[in-house]
């Protein structure tokens, strides 16, 4: 009878995946882990690595004292830019309406003049 066994290489790949609970071990891998000291040592190292990763997240990072004001300034500048664009849009719209009104008035005046000429 041939007994199928996982080898260290296959288990090593599984250990990296299982370290963050992304994947569970299969029966062959579990069987291997009960007997292979090297793979168990590797598994223990992954566990320590994960703990250290979480601890590192909590470790303080040297703060940049100017960062907060820089963020707020960036948002302010963006707001001002938007406001300026909006104002420019209003000015363009008002200018367009004025130009349209002037053109209409000119057209009406021309028609009146032509009508007056025809009548006289």
């Amino acid at each position: 009878m041939i007994v199928e066994r996982a080898d260290c290489r296959a288990v090593s790949d599984a250990l990296a995946a299982a370290a963050g609970s992304d994947r569970a071990f299969g029966p062959l891998e579990l069987d291997h882990l009960t007997t292979c000291l090297r793979c168990r040592a590797e598994q223990a190292r992954y566990r320590r690595l994960m703990e250290a990763m979480q601890a590192l997240r909590e470790a303080p990072v040297e703060e940049d004292s100017r960062l907060e004001s820089q963020i707020l300034t960036t948002i302010d500048l963006h707001g001002r830019l938007l406001a300026r664009r909006a104002r420019a849009g209003v000015v363009a719209a008002v200018g367009g309406i004025a130009a349209g009104a002037a053109a209409t008035a000119g057209f009406i005046a021309a028609r009146h003049r032509r009508a007056a000429r025809l009548l006289s």
């Binding site: 790949d13 190292r45 979480q54 601890a55 963006h78 707001g79």
Partner: protein, 186 residues
């Protein structure tokens, strides 16, 4: 925090400023871990908050505000790193050999928790950006694979492959098994 987010969503600038004050240190820490540079981290965080400010109205509250912000930081960092690599022409591929240049690297110190953290921090910074991003976002900030894949513009499978490769590198680097130490002396 929830009420501040609600106020910020309705356009209250003061509420958004307070959210910046509460969250910017954490966002900066993530950006620093993703980019490995204080200058880049500062740029990334500013860009991320600007994007957050513009889109906070669309924040649906399905995740925590901090998680939503981390995703924006991750996306900005990925864009920033991509742009930087394009300019510098010094792409670091996932298969590049790692050379440990730290003079104070000493495996005998690994029993010490502080030394482990120090070495781990350095090892994370030395990872290629494509591996560093996934391992930081997943194993330090607990973002789901799907979110990581989306923000980095890769498939979920690719994100998992990179994650496992990154974990293996870090493990070999900071907690080597007997016989693995010499691999890093090359």
């Amino acid at each position: 925090m929830v009420s501040l987010v609600e106020r910020a969503k309705s356009g209250d600038r003061e509420a958004f400023d307070r959210l910046v004050r509460i969250t910017h240190s954490d966002a900066y820490a993530l950006a620093l871990r993703l980019t490995g540079s204080t200058e880049d981290a500062r740029d990334v965080v500013q860009e991320a908050y600007l994007r957050a400010y513009r889109s906070v109205g669309r924040f649906r509250g399905e995740a925590l505000f901090s998680t939503w912000l981390y995703r924006i930081v991750a996306n900005c960092a990925a864009t920033h790193i991509g742009r930087r690599q394009l300019h510098r022409h010094d792409h670091l591929g996932a298969h590049d050999d790692f050379i440990d240049t730290r003079p104070d690297y000493d495996p005998t110190l690994l029993g010490d928790v502080a030394a482990l953290r120090l070495n781990l921090d350095a090892a994370i910074r030395d990872l290629p950006p494509r591996l560093r991003s996934v391992v930081v976002l997943r194993d330090m900030y607990d973002l789901p694979h799907e979110a990581i894949a989306k923000e980095l513009g890769i498939s979920v499978t690719a994100a998992k492959v990179r994650l496992h490769r990154a974990r293996r590198r870090l493990r070999e680097q900071v907690l080597p098994l007997p016989g693995e130490e010499h691999d890093h002396d090359r």
